[in-house]
Symmetry: C2
Subunit: 247 residues, 2 copies
Amino acid sequence: MTTRTDGHALAGLAALLADPTRAGFCLALLDGRAWTAGELARSAGVAPSTASDHLTRLVRGGLLAEERQGRHRYVRLADPSVAQLVEDLAGRAPAPAAPPRTLRAASAQASLAYARTCYDHLAGRLGVLLHDALLARGVLDRAGGLALTPTGVAWLTDLGVPVEPLRAGRRPLVRDCLDWTERRPHLAGALGAALCRRFLDLGWTARGTGRAVRLTPAGRPALAAALAVDPADLAPPASRDTGPARA
Amino acid sequence: MTTRTDGHALAGLAALLADPTRAGFCLALLDGRAWTAGELARSAGVAPSTASDHLTRLVRGGLLAEERQGRHRYVRLADPSVAQLVEDLAGRAPAPAAPPRTLRAASAQASLAYARTCYDHLAGRLGVLLHDALLARGVLDRAGGLALTPTGVAWLTDLGVPVEPLRAGRRPLVRDCLDWTERRPHLAGALGAALCRRFLDLGWTARGTGRAVRLTPAGRPALAAALAVDPADLAPPASRDTGPARA
DNA sequence: CGCACCGGTCGGTGGGGACCGAACCGTTCC
DNA sequence: GGAACGGTTCGGTCCCCACCGACCGGTGCG
């Protein structure tokens, strides 16, 4: 019924992401949480008025959803598909690769490399390990495209994750998402999100600062057992925030 | 190892698609073929010098690959993943929906709606029908994500499409691609491309003008048999190019 | 060998948009 | 009620970039 998408419409959408400030907003919102306009303005280093303008355009363009609460304006990515779009673009964009300058930054970076949220699923070394373990255990199979196996359904039910509701939405059940730090795929899609949520609910993982996620003391053996891997493989990076280190 | 992609890199990539002319180039190149600089300039309605500038930027940005032959500069999308990116963006962009003005345009649009290439796989009514028939026949299964079944491997081998080479690359074997005209998914990925190529090789389909594809007289019963569908379901739109029609 | 053609390069021009400061509005808390 | 705060609107400034015309280099054909 509709004609082909024309260049102007495509360009208009791309233009929303073609500004460093707006792109930075979207990358920040990739943590899956709702931010206030002021937080985003500070994080991007622009005046509140500028940020307000940008947010209005992003909302009107359908990339962001907003929610007003009192004097605050909360915004979040409109949709998992927006997160996927931003991920795909970011994955193709060249990495500036500026090494961290301070010890604190290096430590924070190590935490992020270990485990973090990627919109609403797990990423980092832990995310890739989860992905690999699910394949090894036969929960997932990629003989003909990544798919959940019948064995996998039982495994998930055991874990307390009902599968049927996940099939209901339009969102793909399982999907590869290229990990920026590991350069290997981790698990996204409705199932990736459900597992990430379940681990938090079970207390196996907990949110750290920003997008960082850490494995709790109770979670380490529990997760290792569920995935049938050696608990040692789940070891977080050695903590360096006690005592000074030299350059 | 690398740090997070920063807003500037993402914005720079998006900026390549944030211009109507460049976006139009990419949409034109979605037909999977290589175009000359002049063809693209004429199709977009800009001066050759302007087009040359744009192409240089798109090539430097990694979205397009070029190939010089004599005095011609051929360009094509760099990669199937670029095609996917453009598709995803175009699918989210609002459709301008300008109805066709002339009879010739209406006829051309009907041909495109029936069957066309989407980068390197089949789209349009025929593409969606193929997708549905493969699911119905058990070649594909989406119980836990879209996947090729063991039955499907045999079916493909029968058809003369070896599956193993398709697994080799980094490209996903099967993937959904939202059809712009049908608003329903058709089959993309390495398998989608291989089937489209195989149908052309077998003479079941043939290229029409532009991105259009038509089913040959020999192809119609053959394809119907292979898919186990009624040949009537494969009927193309009634041809209207004989005799005038009134508005 | 010249002519036609495709394409790239180089200034110049014009428009769009990113940014800020200042003034303003509504909420929250004392 | 008043003060502090988050957010928005409005003008104004400045820079970037899309576009063209003109000129130049390489290719292919007669």
